[in-house]
Amino acid sequence: MLSSLRRPSILPGFGFAFGITLAYLGLIVLLPLSALVLRASGLGVSGLWAIATEPRVLAALKVSFGLALAAATVNAVFGTIVAWVLVRYEFPGRRLLDAAVDLPFALPTAVAGIALASIYAPNGWVGSLVAPLGWKIAFTPLGIAIALVFVGLPFIVRTIQPVLLDLESDVEEAAATLGASRLRTLLQVVLPVLVPAILTGFALAFARGVGEYGSVIFIAGNLPFVSEIAPLLIVVKLEGFDYTGATAIATLMLGAAFLVLLAVNLIQAVARRRLGNV
């Protein structure tokens, strides 16, 4: 068994490196997750279900999943445009703009949260602009969605960029010589090749949005049933010593994350089969 694992590799040290990899992944990733699942399994499916359908939990899950979905959708559209502009056009400041895309990644989420909350609050730059119209952004689900768009953007842009770079412009030129208009070329030639990357970025941004905590809690207002997100509810439950409840919600979110990862892998497998590595 081990020898068959070993054979394909001509690099020395496979056994050692493989051992370290397994141990590391096991300790850092799998162990805590297994502990979580183990703990939750004490509840049983019906126990889990009972907690998940508590009105306040259900509302929080709806907020987290619904808004993450909305934010990822917005990003799928605008992130694609941003990636397109960054790859296709030469303009002064392009590198700077390109670097700025990573800011939501690099920034401590709390910093992002406070910054967002302060400009969208009723007395902030943007908040005070829309306040006369009777609109409120911060401390509403809209504010949460904005925070999620903010943290999700790099996922979309960074997954699409390499694919766009890889897409030779001669494919578009070929379409033009065959008589296809610019719009048609974009829709029928460029977009289909980007779809797997867009979907992957969408899934990643969605996963990030569902679990996002730091940048959201400041702008969310955290009103139960209105703008309370699931991760916050875990904290609330922990603070109230309701470990079982917290575990149950955590397990649900873990399951969701797994599903997203599965989806990403499926998308990529299908894309690889259809597009090949030409």
Partner: protein, 347 residues
């Protein structure tokens, strides 16, 4: 359809620097197969792209037949363009790739579904890929992909077929097969065809006429025989086939290599200093006498040998010549050589 490019000037930087195309004119007759040949950077691809409308010339015009195509968009020009790296649509099947040019037509001019399907199968047959219509580009070899690219270009019934280094990305064997095959297709379909290549064998073997480009200008255009046997400029002589050159003087009805007289007749009007271009077969070792030359190096090339010789009278200038394998000589020896042929360019 006849294709004419007239006085094309194209600069990429927009400034007065070196032009990628410097006042180039090219006439291609209906049904002709013309090669644009030249070293990398000589402007071949740019000329092809200007004709296609993929690149806008700074000045000059392009005519298809009597019609001025200069102001027309790529889409309107209806050219078949084949790219070096195939540029196939990866997410479409082979059949969808070929049908693309017909499917994108506006409602009035688009052929009915059944007709498109029939044409696709016909073209697949023409490029000898019948049965592969449901595959995707990733499942084909390089040579097969290039054939799909050609079928796709032919599907729109182009006025002119333009190929940019069509075999550049393929290995030598496939290149040779495809070359012959392209000639057959051309003879069968009769499209006016222009193709770009930096491979002189390809150009000479395939084309009716060859245009040799250098530094944004056409140096010479003519049949392969013309180009090879009567190169018009030193550049063409140097670029086509193998050649070396020597500084000579034309005087008193003869060429002189230093103090040695070369037994080649001077044609009318040739006089003064210049360079004599010779091909490896133009100079031979001759025990009966000739100009003494020192053998610098000897290589084996297939059935014969290739000797690099230098003339003591001229310092470092060297010439490559063919030598029979049977002839026994070593580097360092001095042997007499005789000039059988050569082309003189004054200057």
């Amino acid at each position: 359809m006849q294709v004419r490019a007239q006085n094309i000037i194209k600069r990429f930087d927009g400034g007065p620097g070196n032009a990628a195309l410097d006042d180039v004119s090219l006439d291609v007759g209906s049904g002709e197969l013309v090669a644009l040949l030249g070293p990398s950077g000589s402007g071949k691809t740019t000329l092809l792209r200007v004709i296609a409308g993929l690149e806008q010339a700074n000045s000059g015009q392009v005519f298809f037949g009597d019609e001025d195509a200069s102001q027309k968009s790529v889409q309107e020009r209806r050219v078949g363009f084949v790219f070096q790296n195939y540029a196939l649509f990866k997410h479409m099947t082979i059949a969808e790739n070929i049908a693309f040019g017909l499917e994108v037509r506006t409602r009035g001019t688009r052929p009915p579904k059944a007709e498109i399907k029939r044409r696709v199968l016909e073209l697949l047959d023409l490029v000898q890929l019948s049965g592969l219509d449901k595959r995707r580009p990733a499942q084909l070899s390089g040579g097969q992909r290039q054939r799909v690219a050609l079928a796709r270009a032919l599907a729109v019934e182009p006025k002119v077929l333009l190929l940019d280094e069509p075999f550049g990305a393929l290995d030598a064997k496939v290149r040779r097969d495809l070359r012959r095959w392209l000639r057959e297709i051309h003879d069968r379909t009769g499209h006016t065809t222009i193709f770009v290549t930096h491979d002189q064998d390809e150009a000479l073997e395939l084309a009716d006429r060859v245009a040799v480009l250098s530094k944004g200008k056409i140096e010479q255009i003519g049949t392969p025989d013309d180009i090879y046997d009567h190169p018009a400029t030193p550049f063409v002589h140097d670029f086509i086939g193998e050649a070396s050159s020597l500084p000579v003087v034309a005087r008193d009805g003869s060429f002189w290599l230093g103090a040695e007289r070369i037994g080649l007749p001077v044609l009318g009007g040739q006089a003064g200093q210049g360079r004599l271009f010779v091909r490896p077969q133009d100079v031979v070792f001759d025990q009966a006498g000739g100009i003494p030359a020192e053998v610098v190096a000897v290589r084996r090339t297939g059935a014969a040998r290739r000797a690099e010789i230098a003339f003591p009278a001229l310092g470092g200038e060297r010439v490559e010549i063919n030598a029979p394998a049977a002839l026994n000589f070593q580097p360092g020896e001095t042997l007499p050589v005789r000039f059988m042929r050569g082309t003189f360019y004054p200057g």
